[in-house]
Amino acid sequence: MSTIILFTIISLSAIGAIAAIILYFAAQKFKVFEDPRIDQVEENLPAANCGGCGYPGCRGFAEALVKSDDISDLYCPVGGNDTMSKVAEILGKAVEAKDPLVAVIRCSGSPEHRKKVNSYDGASTCVIVSGLYSGETACQYGCHGLGDCVEVCDFEAIYMDKETELPVVIDDACTACGACVKACPNDIIELRKKNKKDRKIFVSCVNMDKGGIAKKACDVACIGCKACVKVCAYDAIVVENFLAYIDPVKCKLCRKCVEVCPTNSILEINFPPRKVKPAQPVGEAEAKETPARSTGEKENDNNIINQEG
């Protein structure tokens, strides 16, 4: 018995050793020369292999960086400006700093606001629904709620809220790689400029139906009334196809538009509560002041209140 075991061990190790030698020589023989800078650059990339740069994996991007003379169009959204400047240093090429971006979900059609009119029973992905029909609600533009965006996110920066059946982006985790933007068949997700304290003002709707139809399908749809356009002092808002869009660069986060929107389509996120009118007792004011649907307030908002109020 023991001899058998001995034989087994010996022969297996022999096979292993021979294979290792063959592999070693093969590796030597087929080694190709590669620019050592590619490795160097790759080391400085985040190794997320998310494809956010438009190349398959970080190595592909590193190669592109090394090979192209002008790298100002290449950008790693995950590593951001820090990574890019390091890369530029290694390669001795110039890069421009870019505004960091973050994904925002431009739909607020939770079941409470957007009634379901039929029920979908099929493969559970948004692309299949959108290929089939306009979706479970009367709004053919809104979120289908099956989480294709969640599925593609490599950074666990997006999840489905069970109650609203809408995706939620975790700002700190989002690298703006754009995978979710590509995955969403309804083009609901947009990469917008990241502001101080993660503050955001945007039209959370992509419905291009006429006001009446949009409103009937969803309480919080943009009806294209242009009230926001009128109050905006910075020309940041345009209405096209009955849908308002706020330019993230022009917008100065003044919040005027939020107040005038009759359907509460414009969201303000991570802002402190508005100034309290002195006549009102504090407790009551707080209840009233919270804007109708501002979401995602952070804990540190309390600090802001202390500082400012």
Binding site: A123, L132, S134, D209
Partner: protein
């Protein structure tokens, strides 16, 4: 032995409740919404405006290219507006909406019922007439018929195949046509034969319609060159490629068209429409629609004007059953579930199937058990379980190599899978991704 295609296929319960009910003419609706995109190809361009008066048979939208089709008014009345209306695609799309006033037909249409046998037009004229009349494949594919008749140089067609298979369960509109309008249909087939310059036309009918087969066989004696063939009851016998294989044993090459093997396939309904267009100058503005379902009070076959809301048919068939769970435009295998009863009947609507709630839900999904049932039923010889997995993983190159573009979306694989996997859902997705890639590669 009955003829059939060699590989795969399934046999779903037939449920042809309306097979013995003669075609009834549905009363005119109050308004019609006529979509400007009812066919494969470019949507037509409307040529009427708000406020215009139209008569039955007037052209209201013009073909916008070679692969496109004219659209004619199905009623007389006033154009109210051109607006987006939910149609059978599941999306709101532009429709010409007409308020019905009376029933005044365009004078050039011959409304008599006499049979007109001799064909006076030449082949070119026939094709023009068919194009002019907005005829598309009425089996459901809605491919413009004149395109199929315009054989490119270098291709030789030697046989016309007429699809009277109606392999979709429940639907009976073609069946009724073959019983009630057989003579007109056969003249229509002769016209098609003339347009194609062929001497042989084969009509394939599934063997579950013995009355239609014997009826056709009786009349066909007077029409030289036309033969009627009974085919085995096996879904998808009516698939173009399967039908050609069954009838003349030629295999349309992967990625090819029937004309690559010298055949052209038209539906029986199309043949009738061709007769009416060429002999009676009547454009395509009405068609037979089966309204059926297990709980429907009066399963029927209606002659319906295009643009009539489906709800009118439902009313005429005894109202929407209490237990309705799903409304399908077309048959249960390839039809499309719709989300409203207000969608208009279009040229491709061969039937409306109302499924009771208990039959509307899918089977519960579980892991693929690799039983190979999907492989054995796929009439195209594909491996659905594999395509499904590849589509899930977005392995587009492997999908293409696996022949995903050959899938005819017959649904046999999903139908049969014991694990209840939505195979065709994902295969369809993979197909659309791959076709995009192929298109971008061509550019």
């Amino acid at each position: 032995m009955l003829k059939t295609f060699p590989k795969g296929g399934v046999h779903p319960a037939e449920g042809k409740y309306s097979a013995n009910n003669a075609i009834e003419t549905l009363p005119l609706p109050k308004t019609v919404s006529i979509p400007i995109a009812q066919h494969i190809g470019a949507p037509s361009k409307p040529v009427v405006d708000k406020g215009d008066k139209v008569k039955v048979g007037d052209k209201i939208a013009e073909s916008a290219g070679f692969v496109s089709a004219n659209i004619h008014s199905s009623v007389s009345g006033t154009v109210v507006k051109i607006d987006n209306v939910m149609d059978s695609t599941g999306y709101k799309r532009p429709c010409v909406i007409i308020d019905v006033e009376g029933d005044e037909w365009n004078e050039s249409i011959d409304r008599s019922t006499d049979l007109k046998k001799e064909i006076s037009l030449t082949d070119k004229e026939i094709i023009n007439k068919i194009n002019e009349s907005g005829i598309v494949g009425l089996g459901g594919a809605t491919f413009p018929s004149h395109v199929k008749l315009s054989v490119p140089d270098g291709k030789k067609i030697d046989v016309l195949i007429i699809n009277g298979v109606e392999c979709e369960p429940y639907l009976t509109s073609d069946h009724r046509l073959m019983l009630e309008k057989a003579e007109e249909m056969l003249i229509g087939i002769q016209i098609l034969m003339k347009a194609l310059n062929v001497n042989v036309a084969l009509i394939g009918v599934e063997n579950n319609k013995p009355d239609a087969i014997s009826n056709l066989q009786n009349i066909v004696k007077d029409y030289p060159g036309i033969e009627v063939h009974a085919l085995k009851v096996q879904y998808p016998q009516g698939g173009e490629k399967q039908l050609i294989k069954a009838l003349i044993n030629r295999e349309v090459p992967s990625g090819g068209l029937p004309l690559d093997v010298g055949a052209v396939v038209h539906n029986v309904g199309t043949a009738l429409a061709v007769y009416e267009a060429v002999q009676k100058n009547k454009p395509l503005f009405e068609r037979v629609v089966t309204l059926t379902g297990k709980s429907v009070k009066k399963p029927s076959n209606f002659m319906v004007r295009i643009g009539t809301p489906v709800s009118n048919l439902v009313e005429a068939a005894g109202g929407l059953p209490e237990d309705t769970g799903k409304i399908i435009n077309g048959g249960p295998m390839m039809g499309k579930a719709v989300n409203s009863l207000e969608i208009p009947v279009v040229k491709g609507t061969s039937g409306i199937l109302i499924m009771p709630a208990e039959l509307s839900k899918r089977k519960k999904e579980s892991n693929c058990i690799r039983c190979a049932k999907c492989v054995s039923v796929c009439p195209q010889g594909l491996e659905p379980y594999l395509l499904n997995k590849l589509a899930l993983l977005e392995k587009n190159d492997k999908l293409e190599a696996g022949g995903v573009m050959d899938c005819i979306e017959c649904g046999s694989c999903s139908y049969t899978c014991p694990a209840g996997l939505p195979l065709l859902d994902y295969i369809r997705l993979g197909k659309s991704r791959v076709s995009q890639i192929i298109r971008s590669r061509k550019q």
